[in-house]
């Protein structure tokens, strides 16, 4: 079989949509929490209102939606935020998720265009995630849609699996490219592996007032620096691990080793440690949570099913 035909066959594979549904639900929750936090802290007006209305936006956005709605104006901003919140709720409950994700995506892109300097990598991850939900049959299960259509909240009806593959590729791409771009000498042995130590002391992101104790954990931060760099740069191995898992009946020592060690689980465990650590020590908004949301697609429906049975026992 040619490579192309093999690819076509792989992308035509179908499986229960549980991981996609979980991805949909948690992305919706992250969106809800992110915007609610901006509302509660009254920063929504600061970063997205024009100067004349008490905000910091000093230029007209050229985003097509802002233009179509009549320009940068508090009522436009409020309307966009309300729309995103409504779409996020629809995504969480699983009703018209594709349309909701598409509308939320366009509104988010419009809002983020108002003040790009106040955004971060998490905004990109949220936007990437929303687009992938647009492509995914994500409300096929664990949704109001499933309840209304099939009479059950849960459905194991096979749905296209290729969006799950794209989600996993997306997060592997993020990590690999992030790792490769860590060229500052603080990330390397000749810079004494000080990157994590310095990052934790950065006043822009530090979460706690007292931070000097980080110096006592310096050796640990060095280990953290080395692990982070190696782990990020080598995320391509997770793709390989998933491939080996999907083709576990084939021969090969490396395939057997990967499946015995469960490389995917190892990378996910390190990732949870890294992101929970970042969240505990630094204020980077929803960065940790939206990144971990992508991990949900590292597992197949059958694995969630087994986990659920074990939890209920």
């Amino acid at each position: 079989m040619s490579h192309w035909r093999r690819l076509v066959a792989t992308l035509a594979h179908r499986e229960p949509a549980t991981p996609l549904a979980l991805f949909r639900i948690v992305t919706g929750l992250v969106l809800l929490v992110t915007l609610t936090d901006m509302l509660l802290t009254e920063t929504l007006a600061v970063v997205w209102y024009p100067i004349a209305h008490g905000g910091l936006v000093d230029t007209q956005s050229t985003h097509w939606l802002i233009t179509a709605l009549g320009g940068t104006d508090p009522s436009v901003v409020n309307g966009l935020v309300a729309t995103v919140l409504a779409c996020a709720v629809l995504m969480v409950i699983g009703l018209g998720s594709r349309i909701a994700a598409l509308i939320a995506l366009q509104c988010c892109l419009a809002l983020l265009s108002l003040h790009p300097a106040s955004g971060g990598g998490h905004d990109r991850l949220i936007a990437n995630g929303l687009w992938l939900i647009v492509l995914a049959p994500a409300d096929a299960t664990l949704s109001l849609w499933s309840r209304a259509r099939r009479g059950a909240w849960v459905s194991v009806a096979p749905a296209p699996a290729w969006v799950r593959y794209l989600i996993v590729y997306q997060i592997a791409l993020v990590y690999t490219c992030t790792g490769i771009q860590k060229l500052g000498s603080d990330w390397w042995p000749w810079g004494d592996l000080r990157a994590v130590y310095y990052a934790l002391l950065s006043p822009s992101w530090q979460r706690w007032e007292s931070i000097a104790w980080v110096a006592d954990l310096y050796p640990l931060t060095q280990v953290g620096t080395a692990v982070t760099l190696l782990w990020e740069m080598s995320w391509g191995l997770v793709l390989l691990a998933l491939w080996y898992r999907a083709t576990r009946t084939r021969s090969g020592r490396l395939r057997a080793l990967f499946n015995r060690l469960d490389v995917r689980r190892l990378y996910a465990l390190i990732g949870v440690g890294v992101h929970v650590g970042i969240w505990a020590m630094m204020n980077l908004g929803p960065f940790s949570w939206i990144t971990l949301t992508y991990y949900l697609c590292l597992w197949h429906h059958d694995e969630y099913s087994r986990l659920w049975r074990r939890v209920r026992r």
């Binding site: 192309w4 690819l7 076509v8 066959a9 992308l11 035509a12 901006m38 802290t41 009254e42 920063t43 600061v46 970063v47 100067i51 008490g54 905000g55 910091l56 000093d58 995506l105 003040h115 300097a117 106040s118 971060g120 990109r124 936007a127 990437n128 687009w131 290729w162 794209l166 997306q170 791409l173 993020v174 490219c177 992030t178 490769i180 771009q181 860590k182 060229l183 500052g184 000498s185 390397w188 000749w190 810079g191 000080r194 990157a195 310095y198 990052a199 002391l201 950065s202 006043p203 822009s204 992101w205 007032e209 931070i211 000097a212 110096a215 006592d216 310096y218 204020n283 980077l284 908004g285």
Partner: protein, 214 residues
């Protein structure tokens, strides 16, 4: 037929997101070559090249990097031009360099007010003693904005930010005379120094923006 079409779309998507995520010195400025942190990073890599048997003079190495980076960006721009609508409308843009370079002399935001008895601290970032409007000023998106000032970037935005602070101060302190918004440097100490001092020193200030409130 549908299966083939799907495969084509998926391959195009993968090409698009990989191409735009591919590491490149986006935002590279000639002036950055004079930044001590950037120079230190380049010197370290020159050392690595030297150890591998490729000896190049420091200035020549920097110049080569600049030329290579510029060419890379030119190729990248051309290659990504036809894909821009996909990034713009589908939100598929990428760009990941979390803490690629660390700022060794970051700075924190400080706001002082003068009510007729001299400057008094109103908001000192990351302290619990001076927390005026901390809910807003500590929020992650405002931190992101101020982080650019910490890299001594976006001077114009700092002025606009000071204008905004002044408007809030007028509302909260109608009797006050002046407000000052500035950045104060926090040179990051080596671990053994911090283990002894047990405190982070804040030294020079820069970009002071003073606004009359009446």
């Amino acid at each position: 037929m549908l299966d083939h079409l799907r495969a084509i779309v998926v391959v195009l998507h993968l090409i698009a997101i990989t191409a735009v995520a591919f590491p490149a010195p986006v935002g590279m400025r000639r002036a950055d070559l004079d930044n001590p942190d950037v120079q230190a990073a380049i010197e370290a890599w020159r050392g690595v090249a030297g150890a591998a048997g490729v000896a190049v003079e420091a200035e020549a190495f920097r110049e080569q990097l600049w030329v290579a980076g510029s060419k890379m960006l030119a190729v990248r721009t051309s290659a990504l031009t036809p894909l821009q609508p996909y990034y713009r409308y589908a939100g598929t843009s990428q760009g990941w360099a979390m803490f690629g370079y660390l700022n060794h002399t970051p700075a924190r935001l400080e706001i002082h007010i003068d009510s007729g008895i001299g400057w008094e601290p109103l908001f000192i970032a990351r302290t619990t003693a001076h927390t005026w409007r901390a809910r807003q000023l500590d929020q992650e998106r405002v931190r992101g904005l101020v982080n650019a000032f910490s890299w001594r970037s976006s001077r114009q935005r700092m002025r606009a930010f000071a204008d905004w602070v002044a408007v809030q101060a007028v509302a909260d302190f109608p009797a006050a005379k002046r407000i000052r918004v500035q950045m104060r440097t926090r040179p990051l100490p080596a671990p053994h120094e911090l283990q002894v001092s047990r405190a982070l020193a804040h030294t020079k200030t820069y970009w002071p923006e003073i606004r009359e409130l009446r």
